[in-house]
């Protein structure tokens, strides 16, 4: 893995020579491609192997979830690339499927408002939504602005939400969601519920001042909050070393006294183990946890530029010739450790399914997703005047564009 290349090039006398930065560079250079392996071994030895108790049904369901996310992304990318009538968009999650799947498999995803666990998402929500159990056809409709979509066409990608399954929703802003999630955890603790609040956030969230508020208050108040940081190494075009002095962002969390783990985000079982540990702790009143999942996205930050219909991933797109852009070799290296492949191999290895059955399941999922798109894109468009509704619980606000 061409790891060094991910570190932005700088002129020697122009480089901020902070001690921690130097440490970062050194460590990255030393460990190179072995980083994720080293972490994997660590996680295996440290975190209780809760996955041993998962039933075969549950394991298959997790595999299905990973596949649903993957095929949702691929189908939508193809729509964007090939269907001129398609208007939806996405911040694609492909490559990160094992994180959402592993975490949500440890949660309560149904039940009344005082039962269901809550998951807060980000600007990259489709994976979290599917893993939490939203109705996929309705999500597809929503993303294409249909009036029968999950949110009536009001929100679309960056704002989807489905409280019925505890999917608190996407949020297009970097910063606020983790703080808000800590407030949900505060309420859960105050009312004596054993619910937990989970927030998925990218590495970009580390530098936001909200990070401190979230960690500090979660620690001080012993909140049942699980902060899942999906460290996919980049925020837009910037490598995370530009905004974070730590190699493992989890270090930054543990300083507050928050229980922190770093896991291989490509391996659903490891993610599950860490999530189960965190959920058990939170339900038992033992306070917050932070899980840093090392992962990678296969598409570019937003949409499908650089991608080809029918192919996975987006290569070589860098229109602005941005110096900090992720190198193609890095992407290819990460694709060697694909979360779908890893999950399939584990299931076959554990004797849960054989390879043929695994392939069959994938075909079933592909068909399911195809149907979801068929249904979603056949839904009615929105009525213009409805934009004046849902400002408050009741009523409509007056139109003002006519003067």
């Amino acid at each position: 893995m061409d790891y060094d290349a991910t570190i932005p090039q700088r002129e020697p006398d122009d480089v901020p020579e902070s001690r921690s930065r130097r440490g970062f560079l050194k460590l990255a250079a030393l460990t190179g491609a072995a980083v994720s392996v080293g972490r994997q071994a660590g996680a295996l030895s440290e975190v209780p192997f809760a996955a041993r108790e998962l039933s075969n049904e549950k394991l298959i369901e997790m595999y299905r979830t990973i596949l649903r996310i993957r095929w949702h992304e691929r189908t939508q990318a193809d729509q964007m690339l090939e269907n001129p009538d398609y208007r939806g968009y996405n911040h694609f999650y492909a490559g990160q499927e094992a994180v959402a799947t592993g975490v949500c498999a440890a949660l309560r995803n149904t039940g009344a408002r005082d039962q269901v666990d809550l998951a807060y998402s980000s600007h990259r929500p489709s994976g979290h939504a599917i893993a939490k159990g939203v109705d996929i056809p309705k999500m597809v409709a929503e993303m294409d602005f249909r009036s029968t979509g999950m949110n009536g066409g009001y929100g679309a990608e960056m704002h989807i939400a489905d409280p019925d399954v505890g999917f608190a929703g996407a949020d297009g802003m970097i910063g606020p969601a983790p703080v808000i999630a800590s407030g949900s955890a505060f309420a859960m603790r105050a009312r004596g519920s054993d619910q937990v609040a989970v927030v998925f956030a990218g590495d970009g969230n580390y530098a936001a001042p909200h990070f401190h508020s979230t960690m500090n208050n979660a620690a001080l108040l012993d909140l049942p909050l699980i902060y899942v940081m999906e460290n996919n190494l980049y925020h837009q075009y910037a490598h995370y070393s530009l905004s974070c002095p730590h190699v493992d962002i989890a270090e930054a969390a543990s300083v507050y006294g928050v229980h922190a783990r770093t896991v291989d985000g490509q391996d659903v079982v490891q993610v599950y183990n860490a999530a189960k540990e965190a959920v058990d702790r939170a339900r038992a009143g033992e306070g917050p946890s932070f899980i840093e999942a090392k992962t990678y996205r296969y598409y570019n930050h937003w949409g499908a530029p650089g991608a080809k219909a029918g192919e996975l991933g987006a290569f070589g797109y860098d229109p602005l010739a941005i110096t900090h852009f992720r190198p193609e070799k890095e992407l290819r290296a990460w694709m060697q450790r694909d979360p779908v492949d890893i999950a399939r191999k584990i299931l076959v290895d554990w004797g849960v399914v054989d390879t043929a059955r695994a392939r069959e399941i994938e075909e079933e999922v592909k068909a399911e997703i195809a149907e979801a798109f068929e249904w979603g894109l056949a839904q009615p468009l929105c009525t213009p005047e409805d934009g004046l509704k849902n400002v408050f619980v009741e009523g409509t606000v007056p139109p003002r564009q006519f003067g």
Binding site: G169, M173, S184, F186, R191, S213, F392
Partner: protein, 322 residues
């Protein structure tokens, strides 16, 4: 019914709602949620409901505001009291997250939350950052949260009940300078609607519109004017968002004279909106606007008290208008 201080009236409402709803939480910072009133039991939310439900942590108003939002989304009624020094620290999360959440989820997010945001403007000498009274306009431009501003202990209690019971998120602006007011306030819970202005006086010669900390001076001026034979309709906005246009337009249609009075900076003070709505709906209205100049409040009491609109300014402007 008893004479009650402002703070006691408010905490009586909060205490009632917290007794009714064991899930409800309260987050505070500087001001311990304690109030006493002659002849009444002391209210102390922290000791009565315990530190799991009533909590202060650090000086982080954004956390406070975000946390109650999160509590609401998790299904718990929740409120926080933001001191005036931190009044705009949580601006972004209210403006860009909470206010848009019901709309963006197609009506599926529930936010039974109240942000009590203190405003000052009363104490000479406290200067730019501690004598300002400007937040009304910032919060008023935000759709999707109901912004109210009481001007009496009675309304303070009634609006607090209504705010805590509302499924809409409410910004409850609290003009701290009015803390010393007392009046008869019922012991039992009651609601003052979140979208209705109050006609405090009926006249017919002109309409004076103000809100919050502007009201006592306006009422004093109206008294003076009445003695001079000038009878004013006095309207207390109470609701900044959604503003009660009907009450304003009814009065202005009759008087054709409109004076707005704000402690907020002139440019885009709430009165600007009152004027715009009035002249959009009624022809031939003569208007005047009294407001704090477009300058931060200075420390020197000589400068500050001259700049802050007082009863004489209101009376003088009214005389010039009729």
């Amino acid at each position: 019914m008893a004479m009650k201080s402002w703070m006691y009236s408010v905490l009586e409402a909060v205490q009632h709602e917290m007794r009714e709803d064991p899930a409800m939480t309260w987050i505070f910072e500087l001001t311990p949620p304690v109030a006493s009133n002659p002849g009444k039991p002391v209210i102390n939310l922290e000791t009565e409901f315990g530190r799991k439900r009533v909590v202060n942590t650090g000086i982080d108003e954004n956390w406070m505001a975000s946390a109650v939002l999160g509590a609401g989304l998790a299904g718990s009624r929740s409120a926080t009291y933001i001191p005036y020094q931190g009044s705009c620290m949580p601006f972004q999360v209210i403006q860009n997250v909470a206010a848009k959440l019901r709309h963006k989820t197609g009506g599926r997010a529930e936010m039974p939350v109240v942000w009590i945001i203190e405003m000052t403007g009363q104490t000479p000498g406290f200067a730019q950052q501690h004598s300002c009274y400007e937040e009304d306009s910032y919060y008023m431009h935000i759709p999707g949260v109901r912004t109210v501003i009481p001007s009496t202990p009675f309304d303070a209690k009634g609006l607090m009940h209504a705010a805590l019971r509302s499924r809409d998120p409410v910004v409850y602006l609290y003009p701290a300078g009015l803390r010393t007011l007392t009046e008869e306030v019922p012991d039992d819970p009651f609601e003052v609607p979140l979208d209705k202005a109050a006609v405090r006086r009926e006249g017919g010669d002109l309409t004076i519109v103000s809100s919050g900390a502007g009201m006592p001076g306006v009422l004093e001026a109206a008294e003076t004017l009445a003695a001079e034979g000038i009878a004013a309709d006095v309207i207390d906005l109470r609701a900044l968002t959604e503003m009660d246009t009907e009450t304003i337009v009814n009065s202005v249609s009759k008087t054709k004279r409109l004076l707005t009075v704000d402690q907020s900076y002139y440019t885009l003070c709430p009165g600007a909106e009152v004027i715009a709505r009035s002249v959009e709906n009624v022809e031939g209205v003569k208007v005047k606007r009294v407001a704090f100049p477009d300058a931060p409040p200075p420390a020197s009491p000589e400068m500050f008290l001259w700049m802050r609109p007082g009863p004489e300014n209101v009376a003088e402007a009214a005389r010039a208008l009729v």
